[in-house]
């Protein structure tokens, strides 16, 4: 699929490569094409099960084997899921047609792939990344998957193999190809895009989005340009990216390779390259003797697809709240920015519902998010009563529990389901009475006169270190029950009084 190369420059932080040779600053430009298998019961054009991992060539019939005389019949659920995904990506759903993409390959039973070409079902949407970047979506169209070749004997690769086997179980499995615009500017952002897209695929039920099983496949179009250059550079399409780690590494490698070439005055050749995870580099694909010409034309065995306005409206009405929206809702409730890590993590872990409920129960937003981000493992947090989390935060803010104690109490809350007050009592985390704390501090000062005088006379630099010495002593004596903030306040008041 060709990318639309006109785009608006995006705002925000730019990840750049600064050349060691010339000092020029280069920018990476990435557009991702994602193929994902739709989680339908049956295949795109026949009634065979859409199942991963079954015995080879067991989920096949005349239609998905492309036997002479067989005809495709469009699976209604494919259209439903494709539209659901499209609407979740803010695309408009358009009347669409299927086309044949003609080329010979043994894993493709008809030697053409039924896809959508000039009139795709979903066009012109976007996806908001957790870092605030909006990545344009050019299109998300329906197409059929191919079978799988296995090269046996010899090297196990196509060259030198003794023979090849083909499994057509995957042939005709429905795919949506999501073509993103080149709005991504660094490898981490590319990974973030895939994470976000995966979250949307899961939320909409469109796909199980497993990169390791190949139900989500990523190709990256990578180019570079000097910062400030409005023109996009020549791009290379990187394939064989089997994990997020590979995606990040491949983009980074490919960008540096291109910068090196350009600085040597060598033009980039637009080509397909394969990522070699072991060698940590991209390699050119086998050069094709002839230019690719897929001779697209409208698939005469299928009729145009025109989902009714009612159908689209029903899809919209049934869409779940999507990650970006969930981040916005949580951020507003917590009174923080939507790109803050606490918000992003809460949504990513599916704990935003808990956080929102805790905030609703009076828990202070930022502290609630801190717990969700740092102190709650994904497992087991689900049964946590949000009211208890709100209470915990309340105890903390009232100085009745220290941050350390709160963490311990929270862990106990998750495992026992009891209230924080009860757990604190059980663990002996009674807040120290302030006169008791003052007496303890005075005793410690008396025990360490040298340190105290150093602290009293300390300059800005040494002050923090010596303060830490006294706080540490108090914590040790109080067995962690003293509130750190209260301790420093008392220490400072004593210091001011004695100086």
């Amino acid at each position: 699929m060709t990318l639309n190369l006109t785009h608006e420059p995006i705002e925000g932080e730019h990840f750049t490569i600064t050349s060691e040779n010339t000092g020029d600053v280069w920018e990476i430009v990435v557009g991702l094409e994602v193929h994902c298998e739709l989680a339908t019961v049956t295949k795109l054009f026949c009634g065979c099960p859409n199942m991963f991992g079954d015995e080879p060539n067991t989920n096949v019939c005349p239609v998905c084997l492309g036997l002479p005389g067989s005809l495709p019949v469009l699976n209604h659920q494919v259209v439903e899921l494709a539209m659901r995904l499209g609407r979740a990506l803010h695309c408009s759903v358009e009347p669409s047609v299927f086309a044949r993409k003609n080329y010979f390959y043994p894993d493709m039973p008809k030697d053409y792939q039924v896809s959508q070409f000039d009139r795709p079902i979903n066009v012109d949407g976007w996806l908001d990344l957790p870092d605030g970047t909006r990545v344009g979506i050019e299109r998300a169209h329906i197409e059929e998957d191919t079978g799988k070749n296995t090269h046996a004997g010899g090297s196990g690769r196509i060259h030198g193999a003794d023979y090849s086997l083909v499994d057509y179980n995957r042939a005709g499995v429905p795919l949506v190809e999501i073509v993103g615009r080149p709005h991504i500017r660094h490898p981490e952002q590319a990974k973030m895009y895939i994470d976000e897209l995966r979250a949307i695929l899961l939320a909409t039920g469109a796909s199980d989005a497993k990169m390791e099983e190949g139900s989500l496949r990523v190709d990256a179009n990578v180019s570079v340009r000097r910062v400030g250059d409005p023109e996009l550079g020549k791009r290379c399409e990187i394939k064989n990216l089997n994990s997020l780690r590979s995606l990040g590494r491949a983009i980074d490698y490919e960008a540096r390779r291109q910068v090196d070439l350009l600085e040597e005055g060598i033009a980039i050749r637009q080509e397909t390259r394969h990522w070699d995870e072991g060698a940590g580099r991209t390699r050119p694909g086998r050069s094709k003797e002839e230019a690719e010409d897929y001779r697209y034309f409208q698939e005469p065995d299928l009729v145009p697809l025109e989902p009714s306005a009612e159908w689209i409206a029903a899809i919209d009405a049934a869409l779940p709240v999507l990650p970006a929206q969930r981040r916005a809702i949580l951020a507003e409730a917590a009174g923080v920015g939507a790109t803050e890590s606490g918000v992003v993590m809460a949504v990513q872990r599916g704990l935003d519902g808990l956080a929102l409920a805790a905030i609703d129960q009076g828990g202070e937003g930022r502290r609630v998010l801190t717990h969700v981000e740092h102190n709650l493992a994904v497992d087991g947090a689900g049964s946590l009563d949000p009211k208890h989390l709100a209470e915990l935060v309340g105890l903390e803010l009232a100085g009745q529990l220290t941050a350390t104690q709160a963490k311990t109490v929270l862990a106990e809350m998750v495992s026992s389901g009891s209230s924080p007050a009860a757990i604190a009592t059980e663990l002996g985390f009674e807040a120290m009475d302030s006169s008791e704390l003052e007496a303890m501090i005075d005793a410690i000062i008396a025990e360490s006169p040298d340190e105290w005088s150093s602290f009293r006379d300390a300059d800005e630099k040494r002050h923090a270190k010596l303060q830490g010495f006294f706080v540490g002593k108090v914590m040790k004596v109080s067995k962690g029950q003293a509130d750190g903030k209260a301790v420093t306040a008392i220490l400072e008041s004593r210091r001011n009084a004695s100086s």
Partner: protein, 484 residues
């Protein structure tokens, strides 16, 4: 033993009433095949054993008091591009050697469900590409009325089988005239229904947007009967019209009084043999005598029909025939690499005409040529539809020759593909428009060979078309009567 009737309607009636057994009907047809098939070569495969088993089963059902259906015990020949479960389906091509489909075409299921007996798979131009059956990998079929002449094509075997009395009815496929032209050349009735009226599921595709299955018979009523049996929505074909089969037998005697029937100017002049044109005028007079209003109509876009067809049909064929690559079924010529194996297999497996059309179609769809060829052909197709629409504002039906000439001799046109393609000039436009049309025998030409006249109708107007066909059938001069 009662004598065996020649029409499907009579045979079915006799079998259903127990007057005749399906088995004796079958044996009489197998005898006819045994007598003349060696000289005609209508069949790629005669299914004698399977047919006997099926006929016996029909007789058992009749004996048990069941009604096996409207085609009970009627022998029926199937063009060998219709998939038959477990029975070789070759498309008269070497490339499908050894392939036995694991399923029946929808039409094959439907005729069987109606009680018909599949008697054999008939010869055709390879993958239905041709107008004479000379492109078959298994040798040509001969015209039963004159063995030195072609039966037409591509459904030459199905037309010849009916003309020779091997079966009262048969099924063919029509992409640009492949039912109507051989029907005309063999002197039988042949119908191309509205696109989508008959399921294409199990018809090995030539050009998917044009292909349509239809009947051959000796009488108009038999074609009506067979079309009623095979028509109707099929969920396995997305282009199938979501409607029940039309009622045709019921309207056959309604006549043509008040119908407006147009003679198409573009298909009555240059390129049409004078004797054929004269027969068409005579047919028009017969319709007028029966009460129809006859007029002349010009459909200018028809002049471009042939050119558009020979871009669109090969373009689709180039894609439809890509799957014959030696990987999964049929012929394989082994080689060191997959690509080489593909090439060697296709080189050995396809005949010249198929290769010619694959190349034409591949070219027409190629980057840089698409707009000038395939794209323009699609526009012409739209123009033709529009012109037909205009014509059908003033006329209920159109009347033309089916073929520009009567049956020609073997080898006469094989050296010049263009002259062969011109044979389809009268039949192609309705395929491009998706409309129904049929050929009805109407006397002989100056050479004594049958002439067919073509009735064309708007989409789904088969009932009107069949009414006129019945009138023409009644008025047709006997074949034996010399052309004046």
């Amino acid at each position: 033993m009662a004598s065996i009737p020649t029409t499907a309607i009579e045979i079915a009636a006799a079998v259903r009433s127990g007057e005749l057994s399906a088995r004796e009907v079958l044996e009489s047809h197998l005898d006819a095949i045994e007598a003349r098939e060696p000289e005609i070569n209508a069949f790629n495969l005669v299914l004698a054993d399977e047919a006997r088993a099926a006929a016996t089963a029909i007789d058992e059902r009749v004996a048990a008091g069941e009604d096996p259906g409207v085609l009970a015990g009627v022998p029926l020949a199937l063009k060998d591009n219709l998939c038959t479960h477990g029975i070789p389906t070759t498309c008269s091509s070497r490339i499908l050697e050894g392939w036995r489909p694991p399923y029946d075409a929808t039409v094959v299921q439907r005729v069987a469900a109606a009680g018909a007996i599949a008697i054999g798979k008939t010869n055709l131009d390879e993958f239905a590409m041709g107008s004479s059956t000379e492109n078959s990998a298994f040798g040509p079929t001969r015209n039963p009325r004159d063995l030195s002449r072609v039966p037409g094509g591509s459904s030459g075997g199905s037309a010849a089988a009916v003309a020779a009395g091997f079966a009262p009815i048969s099924l063919g496929s029509d992409t640009g005239g492949s039912i109507r032209q051989p029907a005309a050349l063999c002197g039988v009735v042949g119908v191309k229904p509205t696109y989508g009226m008959v399921s294409r599921y199990g018809l090995v595709a030539f050009a998917s947007s044009l292909d349509q299955i239809g009947p051959f018979s000796t009488t108009v009523a038999d074609s009506a009967l067979l079309l009623e049996a095979i028509a109707g929505h099929d969920p396995r074909d997305s282009t199938s019209i979501n409607a029940a089969a039309p009622s045709l037998l019921d309207v056959l005697d309604q006549g043509v009084a008040g119908l407006r029937i147009g003679l198409v100017t573009e298909l009555m002049g240059e390129g049409i043999a004078p004797d054929v044109a004269a027969r068409v005028r005579q047919a028009a007079e017969a319709l007028a005598a029966a009460g129809a209003e006859i007029g002349e109509v010009s459909i200018p876009a028809l002049s471009y029909g042939l050119s558009a067809y020979y871009l669109i049909a090969p373009a689709e064929a180039s894609s439809n025939l890509a799957r014959y690559d030696g990987v999964r079924y049929g012929m394989r010529v082994d080689a060191a690499t997959t690509a080489e194996m593909n090439t060697k297999t296709r080189t050995a497996g396809f005949g010249d005409e198929v290769k010619r059309r694959i190349m034409l179609g591949t070219y027409a769809l190629s980057a840089g040529y698409y707009d000038a060829y395939y794209g323009k052909a699609l526009k012409v197709r739209t123009l033709i539809m529009r012109d037909f629409e205009t014509a059908y504002k003033d006329f209920d039906l159109l009347l033309t020759p089916t073929s520009p000439t009567t049956a020609f001799r073997f080898g006469e046109k094989t050296s010049d593909p263009l002259s062969m393609y011109l044979n389809d000039i009268c039949t192609i436009p309705t395929n491009l428009a998706g409309h129904p049309a049929m050929s009805v025998p109407f006397g002989a030409g100056s050479d004594g060979m049958p002439v067919g006249v073509q009735l064309m109708a708007p989409a789904l107007a088969e009932p009107t078309m069949f009414r006129a066909a019945a009138v023409l059938e009644d008025a047709a001069p006997p074949l034996e009567e010399a052309f004046q």
